[in-house]
């Protein structure tokens, strides 16, 4: 067979599935669920890419990764090049390769997807990031089985793309403060450091990562992947100060006027949990998803008493909500030994969570009770929750969000026994900082008013992005905001110094 024919055939070959651990096994521990491609699978999948001249996938990526470029490098086994191309636009590829909703972004735009299945871009991104992270191990495998084109594996840091330096007139390089070390903050900080700025991230919690640390469970995003990507950002020269709550420990004004920061990026996220405001919600055993996930992810409560923060998960857990956070909370409770039911007002088709994560949850044994509206939480005489009273619903006319509205069915009340209830309905922007700075203009929904092009707030030199400014609610959208703000801050400081 000619080489061309082989290539064509592999392009017609089906999408390589991402291997996952057996549901029964993974439901009992916090190890990663998705296993990632091995080299053969990655190369086979890379060959499926059509290498479009005008790639629509790139337009679907909020940070504009040169997707065909990195896939081409991967296909040709130029791994270090693949890393470099990826990192030129994406500072956190190991994270994005795992938690990005590719199916609604790059992969949705993939031309192959119109006739068959799109290229598994996310899985390839993850492969490249993991190749770099575990470089030495992979190198030996490459040498055994194949002849690598790049003879040596560059060190972790060396793969950082070359910076575009700040070119100001004389004096010191300006200092930039980034508030919050979640995906938006880390991305902006990395880009700014690559421009040559002296960047300090202020994080209120004791460990960096924001929602990546306290929100996303380790079975979706292992801690060593997160730690290594944070280390990468630090290796670019970014300083991270933990235990600093800007607005309380130090004010925005003090940072700018006394500590000499010439620009600030606010990326404080959506930290305020919503409750349903139904009776019984303050019973013991009722958690916000934020509390439940923070106890496990940040405080390691699943390893109590070795780690000193406790968590109480009863025999039966009910999770209220249908987003990714609800899935994360449900799957965490399951792993802590509980029987878990998610109740949702609409049906599976309307669940806002990623389809993959819903499938993962159900496979593992989480139950989904659709068209259920919670009414009241019932407690025992000690003030601990024992059940949740609900009513059935049916789908009515579409509401403002375009989804069909759940309409209660009269006289359909019923109780679900539960000794743990997790409320995962939504979260609002974190009001703490913005309330302490009157010059910041705030929208009705609590988000900051920003210039859509630059991310600049109502205070000159102060920019914002991520969930404090936009309501996309995804890691990659926050990263896109971080990138945009870094560019705008660079332009702002260049103007200031020229």
């Amino acid at each position: 067979m000619s080489e061309e024919a082989t290539t064509k055939q592999s392009r017609r070959s089906p999408r390589t599935p991402l291997p996952r651990r057996d549901p029964k096994q993974r439901a009992t521990d916090f190890g990663e669920v998705a296993l990632g491609f091995d080299l053969d699978a990655a190369l086979a999948e890379a060959k499926r890419c059509l290498q479009c001249k005008r790639p629509s996938c790139v337009a679907g990526c909020p940070v504009g990764v040169d997707i065909p470029g990195f896939i081409k490098a991967l296909e040709e086994e130029r791994f270090a090049d693949a890393v470099r191309i990826l990192k030129d636009r994406n500072n956190l590829p190991g994270i994005c390769g795992r938690v990005c909703p590719q199916e609604t972004q790059c992969e949705r735009e993939c031309v192959l997807g119109k006739r068959a299945e799109p290229v598994a871009i996310g899985a390839l991104e993850r492969f490249v990031a993991d190749w770099e992270r575990t470089g030495e191990k992979r190198e030996s495998r490459v040498e055994e089985n194949l002849t690598p084109r790049s003879s040596s594996i560059p060190s972790y840091r060396a793969i950082a793309p070359s910076p575009q330096p700040f070119e100001g007139e004389g004096g010191e390089v300006p200092k930039v403060a980034v508030i919050g070390s979640g995906p938006a903050g880390l991305t902006a900080a990395a880009d700014l450091a690559r421009h040559g700025y002296r960047v300090t991230i202020f994080e209120s919690l004791h460990a960096p990562g924001g929602v990546l640390r306290y929100g996303i469970p380790e079975f979706r995003l292992p801690r060593d992947v997160l730690d290594r990507e944070v280390d990468y950002v630090k290796s670019l020269g970014v300083e991270i100060e933990t235990d600093v709550l800007v607005g309380k420990t130090v004010t925005l004004q003090e940072l700018m006027q006394e500590e000499g920061f010439e620009a600030v990026f606010i990326a404080t996220g959506a930290g305020l949990p919503w409750f349903l405001h139904i009776p019984g919600e303050n019973l013991a055993g009722v958690y916000s998803a934020n509390e439940f996930l923070t106890r496990v992810n940040l405080m390691r409560a699943h390893r109590f008493p070795d780690y000193r923060t406790p968590i109480r998960v009863g025999a039966r857990t009910v999770v209220i909500g249908g987003g990714n956070t609800a899935m994360d909370a449900a799957r965490s409770a399951l792993r802590l030994g509980s029987d878990v039911t998610i109740i949702y007002r609409r049906t599976r088709a309307e669940l806002p969570a990623r389809a993959d994560e819903v499938e993962n949850a159900l496979e593992e044994g989480v139950k989904l009770d659709e068209l259920v509206i919670p009414l009241e939480m019932l407690g025992d005489d000690k003030g601990h929750v024992r059940a949740i009273r609900c009513e059935r619903a049916e789908l009515g006319e579409p509401d403002a969000s375009g989804r069909r509205r759940p309409v209660p069915i009269p006289d359909s009340e019923f109780d679900i026994e539960a000794d743990t209830i997790i409320v995962a309905v939504s979260a609002s922007p974190n009001p703490l900082l913005v309330k302490t700075e009157r010059r910041l203009r705030i929208r009705d929904d609590g988000r900051l008013v920003i210039n859509e092009e630059t991310g600049e707030t109502s205070i000159p030199g102060v920019f914002a992005g991520g969930d404090i400014a936009n309501d996309a609610g995804t890691v990659i959208a926050a990263m896109g905001d971080g990138k945009r703000a870094a560019k705008a801050i660079h332009e702002y400081l260049q103007r200031k110094y020229l």
Partner: protein, 275 residues
């Protein structure tokens, strides 16, 4: 500073500069540690320190008590919560029980500075558990002391003392009550009868302390508040103490596990020392 009560002076220049009466810090002992909210009892911006006072009652606080001068805590975050609204009310009666004195001391400093007359009513289980007495005496017009065992001052509870003072016809314009939950609750029951506005400082279970988790939610005047960002001070007459008491017991079993674990650790250490 007293039996089982320890005062730490912690280097934290930023917190020392900004802390105000009523605010707290969150500390973590080590990488496995829980986040412990503790009142900022003193601030010394000149030397860049704050002081925290705690009683060794649980695993983490006993761990802290075992630390030496010069050791480092893994984390100190603050100042958190809303500062107490300090105004000139006139005569302020400050009722503090046990560790509540650590919260009360900076309040007394603040209210005295604002020109209020301070009547301190302090109580503890026994004489050795009282602290900041000299400092409080220096700022107060009257100091009334009681202990559960009568080892110093009156034999009885602070609420008994407060009741006597009120029944005697003493007039107060404002009351602050801090200490164990039952003590605050009893104080509030009393001051309600006398229409005496009363501020309490609540210490519900907290995790992050920055408004993110909602573990510390309390019902105040029918509204749900987060003690970490809306408090920890609230109008005592509006607090749902019953709900708060139940919520505070949510992890009682886990606290017991910690106690057992600690006992096992001690036993193991003793055995190792023997062999």
């Amino acid at each position: 500073m007293a039996a089982g009560i320890t005062r730490f002076e912690v280097e934290a220049p930023r917190i020392a500069r900004r802390a105000k009466p009523g605010q707290f810090a969150i500390v973590r002992v080590d990488e496995q540690g829980e986040r412990i909210p503790l009142t900022i009892a003193e601030r010394h911006p000149d030397r860049g320190t704050i002081a925290i006072v705690f009683q060794a009652v649980g695993y983490s606080t006993r761990q802290m008590a075992a630390m030496d001068v010069g050791d480092s805590l893994a984390d100190v975050l603050g100042p958190l919560g809303q500062p107490t609204e300090i105004r000139r009310y006139g005569c302020v009666v400050c009722v503090a029980g046990g560790l509540g004195i650590a919260f009360m001391y900076p309040e007394i400093v603040g209210f005295a500075e604002a020109g209020n007359e301070i009547i301190a009513v302090l109580g503890a289980r026994t004489k050795d558990l009282l602290f900041y007495l000299d400092e409080i005496r220096a700022l107060s017009a009257e100091v009334h002391i009681c202990t559960d065992d009568g080892s110093i001052g009156r034999h009885g509870l602070v609420t008994d003392l407060l009741r006597e003072l009120l029944e005697k016809g003493e007039h107060y314009d404002y009351c602050i009550a801090t200490g164990p939950l039952p003590m605050m609750r009893a104080s509030v029951e009393l001051t309600k009868q006398w229409n005496l506005p009363t501020l309490v400082s609540l210490d519900p279970i907290m995790v992050d302390g920055t408004g993110m988790c909602g573990a510390c939610r309390v019902t105040v005047g029918g509204e749900v508040k987060f003690a970490c960002v809306d408090g920890p001070d609230f109008d005592g007459h509006l607090v749902d103490f019953d709900e708060l008491a139940k919520r505070k017991r949510a992890f009682a079993e886990e606290e017991e596990i910690c106690r057992l674990q600690e006992a096992a650790d001690t036993l193991e250490a003793e055995r190792a020392a023997e062999s």
